[in-house]
């Protein structure tokens, strides 16, 4: 029996090889913890799941909303959007996709145990109108519904009922959902095997609704998580892997010398910030009690003191560019006219500090994080030494991600670091709501680490989050960002670089949101 099986296996491999299969081996630092699209809010997990599942709408190459499982939509009133669904779409198990699936998916995503509820905050429910029409109810006047829907992938009602997966895994009840390790989507690839931390295999879905117009020619994707950087690089060099989005900067020159692989680098949408504590007192002790960072001249001086070009050149190895705004130019709400113009000028910095009454500088507590942003430990140290030259003494401490987040959230530091990409919304809505609006303990200011508060800015943001007129809304966000950038609660450093390495025969579009979309890739 065993021999027979082995023979069958060999025969199988031969048959597959006869087709000259186009295979992509995609490796990353971490495994996708769960395949349940509503369980874990990470860009990486969503990117992988998106090969199997699809949303009602998706991003096109230019970050515009494009139809996917919905063909059209219409705002009916201030809290209802009506969607017309694509007909003839089938899930991987053969079930038809219709309005019932959308309603069940929306209910599941806003379930109390859903891990991505925060990515669907404007959605309140869905009702079926006909088999291919759904009315989505939302928070009144919410402009972000479509952006949020790009990340809400559709699941199959019948399949969820059959397998008892109508609710996501619940940590408080201790129940695990069937969808954690099993999938049934409508997407371009289907899952054939999964072993946690060892790998997953996807094969092309020949019954994909978009097969006739598909851009890719991939037959099989092997996803392999490789934790150790050295092992991952060895595999890339030996040709075992064909794609990775996780490369340590110091290894790039070595990889660039290889002929069989291509290194792709570009700035991402993520801006890395230094945050300045603007509350009434400092954490560090000084001879005075007031907080010098409350004076805008001091904040400007701190920015003047940093040579960001040198940091980009030496520490980031010229792989990105300095950012003079709080958001990437690709994101709605950016206006080049409002860019911050505070170049490296230590003399000016000293002068501003003297004008503010601190000619001899002061002490600051500076806490930086390892492993969250590329080379952060090095550019934090650089910032510390630049400030030392103008007399500001920052006491720098490095932390792991999880301990840093406690310090940051409890406001136990004067200077922190933070990267913000405005994903998955691709809209300044995210930064204005989370970083800039003053903390209200509820929906605004969860990441307002500086404790920044400007009533006019708050007003603009509150108007913006309930404005359906796109032009007006963008105008409001621009004004809010303009005022904030003048107030300077954050110092923008640079865009976090996106580094991908692909084998020379794989043509994969690199995007500034660092999301791998293999259905737009081709094997040469």
């Amino acid at each position: 029996m065993k021999k027979l099986l082995i023979l069958a296996g060999l025969l199988g491999t031969c048959l597959v090889n006869a087709h000259a299969e186009n295979r992509v081996t995609w490796t990353d630092k971490a495994d996708i913890p769960t395949l349940d699209p509503y369980a874990f809010a990470s860009t990486q997990a969503l990117a992988f799941q998106n090969h199997i599942y699809e949303g009602l709408v998706e991003w096109d190459e230019n970050y515009k909303i494009a139809p996917a499982l919905a063909t059209s939509w219409q705002q009916v009133d201030e809290q209802t959007i009506q969607f017309t669904l694509r007909e003839g779409v089938r899930f991987h198990n053969g079930n038809a996709f219709d309005a019932d699936d959308v309603v069940a998916s929306i209910e599941r995503v806003i379930h109390k145990d859903s891990g991505i509820r925060g990515n669907a905050s404007s959605v309140t429910g869905a009702t079926k109108i006909s088999d291919y029409e759904v009315a989505l109810t939302t928070v009144p006047y919410s402009p972000m519904v479509l952006n949020e829907l790009t990340g809400i992938l559709m699941m199959d009602l019948e399949w969820m009922v059959e397998n008892g997966a109508l609710a996501p895994s619940s940590m408080s009840n201790g129940t695990e959902s069937y969808a954690t390790n099993n999938t049934n989507g409508t997407g371009p690839f289907k899952l054939v095997s999964r072993r946690r931390d060892a790998g997953m295999t996807l094969v092309v879905n020949d019954d994909w609704w978009n097969s006739a117009d598909k851009q890719h020619n991939i037959d099989r994707i092997d996803f392999k998580p490789i934790v150790s950087d050295a092992t991952r690089l060895a595999g890339l060099i030996s040709g075992e892997f064909s794609l990775t989005t996780d490369v340590p900067l110091q290894d790039i020159p070595r990889l660039e010398r290889q002929n069989n692989i291509e290194v792709m680098i570009q700035p991402s949408m993520r801006v890395d910030f230094i945050t300045l504590n603007m509350s009434d007192s400092l954490i560090a002790s000084n001879t005075f009690n007031e907080n010098p960072l409350q004076d805008v001249r001091v904040r400007q001086a701190l920015m003047h003191a940093i040579n960001r070009d040198l940091i980009v050149e030496k520490i980031m190895r010229k792989m990105t560019s300095v950012s003079n705004a709080y958001i990437s130019p690709l994101i709605a709400g950016y206006n080049a006219a409002n860019d911050i113009a505070l170049d490296y000028n230590p003399e000016k910095a000293k002068q501003l500090l003297a004008e503010a009454g601190y000619p001899d500088g002061f002490n600051l507590a500076f806490d930086c994080v390892q492993g969250a942003y590329l080379n952060a430990e090095q550019w934090c140290a650089a910032v510390q030494s630049f400030w030392a030259r103008v007399g500001v003494n920052a006491d720098l401490n490095m932390h792991t991600r999880s301990t840093y987040s406690v310090i940051r959230d409890q406001g136990k530091t004067d200077i922190g670091v933070l990267g913000w990409a405005n994903l998955p919304l691709v809209d300044a809505y995210s930064i204005t709501q989370q970083l800039i609006h003053s903390k209200d303990g509820a929906i605004f200011g969860a990441f307002n680490i500086p404790n920044y508060k400007n009533a006019i800015v708050d007003e603009y943001i509150e108007q913006g989050v309930r404005e359906l007129d796109e032009a007006k809304r963008i105008g409001l966000m621009e004004s809010a960002l303009q005022l904030t950038q003048q107030d300077l609660p954050y110092i923008p450093m640079h865009y976090e670089p996106v580094v991908w390495v692909a084998s020379a025969n794989l043509d994969v579009p690199q995007t500034s949101d660092s999301v791998v979309r293999l259905w737009r890739a081709a094997v040469k």
Binding site: R117, S121, M171, E176, D197, A234, S402, G445
Partner: protein, 321 residues
């Protein structure tokens, strides 16, 4: 015998309670799990709700009591990061780690004992010195360096052996084995060698000095005087009396290898418990960390009980007490 095992079981329960308590005290310092669980766009309100529903606002004692209560019912909870049952996560990875450690122990026993005996009896000074020096390298080379070296030589240059993973595996219910397929055997070789380097050296050096010590004992001299063959003295009498400390050391080491194969598993992407543990520490996955520590503690007790039983077999003078 029965009383002995009963005593050990009681000890195990005590140890588990202490380990669990220490781990809960430690959780106060490892950071905030919420960060890794929730989307950047989640509001403060959603964060507070999640924290409350996970019971993170309760005191250490309350959280500890809850954990012990659930553990007594065999329930270790749901992993914060993997969103799946912790016990099944650990059981899924247990075979990988145990097989890796098993192969590593076999390699180190075979190689270590052969080298130890050889270097104790050999008269070839040059060879002996070379082996001694090499063994020093084996002890002092950190396992991540040795691992990467093995990968570069055997995977990248020679392309003989895979650099990561377990190869093809065969499943039997809860157990999964990679030792039955060729690709599985090839895959286990590099990580097992890198894990065994230290133990090979230790066994070799220990055995050599024990043998040299025993050779000087009175009864060996008497045996020689009685005209017992050299061969019988060397491989029966001396070896048997020199192997006891090796058994002790192996016993202590196996527990350590299972618990701390972390580095080797990380380098070779070996999907075992160490890899799971590292991930859990990174994401402050409290249910996984606490369950892992408890299970490892139980394993230590079990292994040490076995070692005590093996003593009885090797040395009949020892009595159960």
């Amino acid at each position: 015998m029965f009383v002995f095992l009963l005593k050990r079981a009681a000890q195990a329960i005590g140890i588990v309670l202490v380990v669990a308590f220490l781990s809960f005290v430690m959780f106060q310092f490892v950071g905030d799990p919420i960060e890794g669980m929730i989307s950047e766009n989640a509001t403060q309100q959603e964060r507070d709700e999640l924290r409350e529903s996970l019971g993170l606002n309760d005191g250490v004692i309350v959280q500890y009591t809850r954990f012990v209560k659930n553990m007594a019912q065999g329930n270790f909870g749901i992993s914060y990061y993997n969103k799946s049952d912790v016990l099944s996560l650990i059981i899924e990875r247990l075979p990988a780690t145990l097989e890796l450690v098993f192969v590593a122990v076999v390699i180190s026993l075979v190689v270590g004992i052969l080298l130890g005996v050889w270097s104790a009896y050999s008269r070839n000074g040059l060879m002996k010195n070379t082996v001694q020096i090499l063994s020093l390298v084996g002890v002092s080379l950190p396992s991540f360096v040795a691992g990467i070296l093995l990968i570069v030589v055997f995977s990248v240059w020679l392309k003989w052996l895979p650099s990561h993973g377990r190869g093809e595996i065969v499943e039997f219910g809860y157990w999964s084995s990679g030792l039955l397929t060729l690709s599985g055997l090839k895959a286990v070789l590099l990580p097992a060698i890198s894990l065994s380097l230290f133990m090979i050296t230790m066994i070799m050096r220990l055995l050599k000095s024990e043998i040299q010590e025993t050779m000087r004992a009175d009864y060996i001299r008497f045996a020689k005087a009685r005209g017992i063959s050299e061969r019988s003295i060397k491989y029966k009498h001396v070896l048997k009396n020199s192997i006891l400390p090796v058994v002790t050391i192996i016993g202590l080491q196996v527990g350590g290898l299972i618990a701390f194969a972390v580095v080797t598993e990380t380098i070779f992407q070996w999907p075992g418990m160490g890899l799971l543990f590292i991930q859990a520490v990174n994401y402050v996955d409290i249910p996984v960390i606490s369950a892992y520590l408890v299970i490892v503690a139980i394993m230590f007790v079990v292994i040490n009980t076995f070692v005590d039983l093996i003593y009885l077999l090797v040395d009949p003078r020892i009595k159960v007490s």
